[in-house]
């Protein structure tokens, strides 16, 4: 399997809507 690792996740806002079965990406999550 491929793995999207934590270096690539840096500074992104990563949203886990587990009940809604979806993953979100946004920018500037650490600002």
């Amino acid at each position: 399997i491929g793995i999207f690792g934590n270096v690539q996740q840096q500074t992104l806002e990563i949203v886990y809507d587990v009940a809604g079965e979806k993953l979100g990406f946004g920018y500037g999550g650490c600002s």
């Binding site: 399997i1 491929g2 793995i3 999207f4 690792g5 934590n6 270096v7 690539q8 996740q9 840096q10 500074t11 992104l12 806002e13 990563i14 949203v15 886990y16 809507d17 587990v18 009940a19 809604g20 079965e21 979806k22 993953l23 979100g24 990406f25 946004g26 920018y27 999550g29 650490c30 600002s31």
Partner: protein, 426 residues
């Protein structure tokens, strides 16, 4: 010029280098059940101070490969079991499965490129800094009296006898039975107390009482009866943390145990080794930002990992010529504990060659462990690198931050932060 701005990052090299000072600007300002996340190797990590020997980048990448190997083995093993049970395996796959080397150790490796979050357990609450892991389920911490063994941690060990709300969980409880799926191991029983054991792919392990106590995320987000591991025998690559917080999908994960309030919704931002202001936030109190793009999870694959569908990758505005089926055949998970993104071999080779074409002006440097596209940027203060974006199912395009494209081991060894798997689909 417009093309350059659209498809390239032009940046100061210093923006990729670790910082030696911690200067958070938004600490405490974020709403909801939000906690600070720090990079264990970054300037804001207390675990990275007080004379602690820092891991080298080579060590971090070696441990990262151990984690990836164990994730691959865990997924392969589960698929292998599913195939055997359902007997629907094709002859082609049957031949492949016969070559699978099952891991000596179950579970996944901890790795050392970790992020840390602090939670409170007990009454009165004790703050515990735990490894932040979306790839495992059970939350555990080292507990006194450390009957067998504990590794050195920065904070005092959690002492159950000092908490008025602590209790051990009975062997006969449903929760105790649930440890099998959360840890991969059958629970034990000692004097009617449920015993958990979790072993990771690098031989790290934790074993102790399965217990419950009050969990405090923030002063207004407090959960009675939170179930966690109270470790009496712990060894491995946990650094100086107090244990691990499991953010995967099993009913015993913190995500499931707080579902009544947070509805299995959480978000985070992982800071760079230079930056600060990382967070882990439970719930959707403020509503999702309209700028968030969503891609569906593929949650039916028998593990607690979070699977997503990658459809394509662009480098410098150029869509790589890769069939979406390549990604679909292999599958992709998102994992907070793996450092470097792993791609199917063919996809990585394509990404690497395209990236190199855009970087010919810069002198090359030796490989850094599993990273094979490195540059010596000693003579540069400003660089221009191609943007890399991922296209996920749901028309979701994600442009990576420059820190997600290059990993630095000093200015003389700046490397493309991707690696390939050994095979496209096994």
């Amino acid at each position: 010029r417009k093309n350059m701005e659209s498809h390239f990052h032009t940046l100061q090299l210093t923006s990729l280098l670790p910082s030696s000072s911690c200067n958070p600007t938004t600490k405490g300002k974020r709403g909801g059940a939000s906690m600070e996340v720090v990079n264990s190797h970054g300037p804001c990590s207390k675990l990275n101070q007080e004379g602690a020997k820092a891991s080298s980048m080579t060590e971090i990448l070696a441990h990262d490969q151990a984690r990836v190997d164990s994730i691959q083995a865990r997924v392969t093993t589960q698929n292998y079991d599913l195939f055997r049970k359902k007997d629907k395996i094709s002859n082609k796959n049957r031949a492949k499965d016969s070559k699978v080397n099952l891991p000596v150790q179950p579970g996944i490796s901890i790795g050392t490129g970790n992020y840390i979050v602090t939670i409170g357990i007990g009454t009165p609450k004790k703050d515990l800094s735990l490894i932040f892991d979306t790839g495992s389920d059970l939350t555990w911490t080292q507990c006194q009296p450390c009957v067998k063994s504990c590794y050195a941690q920065l904070q005092p060990f959690f002492d159950p006898s000092s908490s008025s709300t602590y209790s051990n969980i009975s062997c006969t409880s449903t929760a105790c039975s649930g440890l099998k799926s959360a840890t991969g191991n059958n629970p034990g029983c000692s004097s009617s107390n449920c015993i958990y054991g979790i072993q990771y792919g690098d031989s790290s392990f934790s074993l102790g009482f399965f217990a419950k106590d009050k969990l405090t995320l923030t002063p207004t987000d407090v959960f009675d009866g939170f179930m966690f591991g109270c470790g009496q025998n712990n060894r491995g690559l946990f650094g100086k943390t107090a244990g691990l917080i499991g953010l995967a999908r099993d009913p015993l994960s913190i995500v499931s145990q707080t579902a009544a309030k947070f509805e299995k919704y959480f978000s985070y931002c992982l800071p760079t080794r230079r930056g600060t202001n990382g967070h882990l936030t439970f719930g959707n109190k403020n509503g999702a930002k309209s700028t968030i793009q969503f891609t569906p999870f593929t949650l039916s694959q028998g593990t607690s990992f979070y699977f997503v569908d990658v459809l394509g990758i662009s480098v410098g505005g150029k869509a790589l010529s890769i069939s979406p089926m390549l990604f679909k055949n292999a599958g992709t998970i998102i994992d907070s504990g793996t450092v470097i993104t792993r791609l199917p071999s063919t996809a990585y080779n394509n990404l690497r060659s395209t990236f190199q074409q855009f970087m010919t002006r810069y002198p090359r440097a030796p490989n850094l462990s599993l990273l094979d596209t490195c540059y010596n940027l000693s003579n540069y203060t400003s660089i221009s690198i191609p943007k890399i974006s991922f296209n996920f199912n749901g028309n979701t395009n994600v442009n990576l931050d420059p820190n997600g494209i290059l990993l630095t081991n000093g200015v003389s060894q700046v490397c493309l932060a991707f690696a390939g798997n050994g095979d496209d689909d096994s």
